[in-house]
Symmetry: C2
Subunit: 145 residues, 2 copies
DNA sequence: TCTTTATTGCAATCTGTTTGCATTTACCTT
DNA sequence: AAGGTAAATGCAAACAGATTGCAATAAAGA
């Protein structure tokens, strides 16, 4: 594992650099930009021999989410999916999601967010502290043939 | 129960007018425009004596969702919530949702949908069959004081 | 190396939901 | 109004995803 900033961030948060954590991070890194479930992480880590418990994976993911290294997505009531936030994500934090109905893959869409207009209208109606989540689905370019 | 169109719709779908179904619909009707979980429905129905099983409530909700009398919402990984679709909803079917972080209530927001622009951009990039779901959260007008 | 405290593995538990199956009920036919 | 049939029910068991308690272990500062 190279990415020093990840290690720095973990240490800065007062968390220990343990084996399960390193394994989880390594899997997340290899899954760059994609989402993956706790169970899938578990299977990838343990496919040769059992080296890490599922419980520890959940706990690791929760910790890493707390220090903003990981983002959790609950997409349409299915098992939660996780992804490693990139260095940039920390500063530019808002995303939209696309899930393909064919291959099931979840993509992060980086683009303009015109929902902000909508939020402004709501503020005028008395709402506050607004945040939102936009989830799209359909067919992704590769399944759309 | 008055609303004849509900009964008509159930019969038209070839479903029987059973007691559990009537009870569930009655609860949903009294909860007009709001979302409610299977468990809450169960408790409302059975608060005096047990007259209907939770299993039947789930099955009823599934059936009613299939014939588009009920809408299901999986909000941020919590228990699924359901609401009765109004007569109009059948014809004008797209909504956005707002969940208050304080009181937990989910509201249906009827308003313009400027996400359509965004979908058009995606179509140009090869995506198709797009649909979306917009979930907002924050403080609702009554909790925002 | 020693000590402390966080973290782990395991088993048990939980919540929300679904399934199998024998019994019951709505409702169509007569 | 009674009877037959397929659909719907209740109950118990199973399920999936996730969390918790606790004793054993391991990371990292002294």
């Amino acid at each position: 594992m190279d990415e020093q900033w990840i290690i720095d961030k973990i240490k800065a948060a007062g968390l220990k650099l343990t084996r399960p954590r390193m394994l989880v991070i390594e899997v997340l890194r290899q899954n760059k930009n994609g989402f993956i479930s706790a169970d899938e992480i578990f299977n990838l880590i343990n496919h040769k021999e059992k080296v890490c418990d599922l419980t520890s994976i959940y706990r690791t993911l929760t910790s890493l989410e707390e220090i903003q290294l990981v983002e959790k997505s609950d997409f349409f009531g299915e098992a939660s999916q996780y992804r490693l936030l990139s260095h940039q994500d920390h500063y530019h934090h808002h995303h939209h999601y696309f899930k393909c109905n064919e291959c099931g893959k979840i993509e992060v869409l980086c683009g303009d967010c015109n929902v902000v207009q909508y939020e402004n209208d709501l503020k005028k109606r008395g709402f506050s502290n607004l945040s939102h989540r936009l989830e799209l689905s359909g067919l992704c370019p590769s399944c759309n043939k």
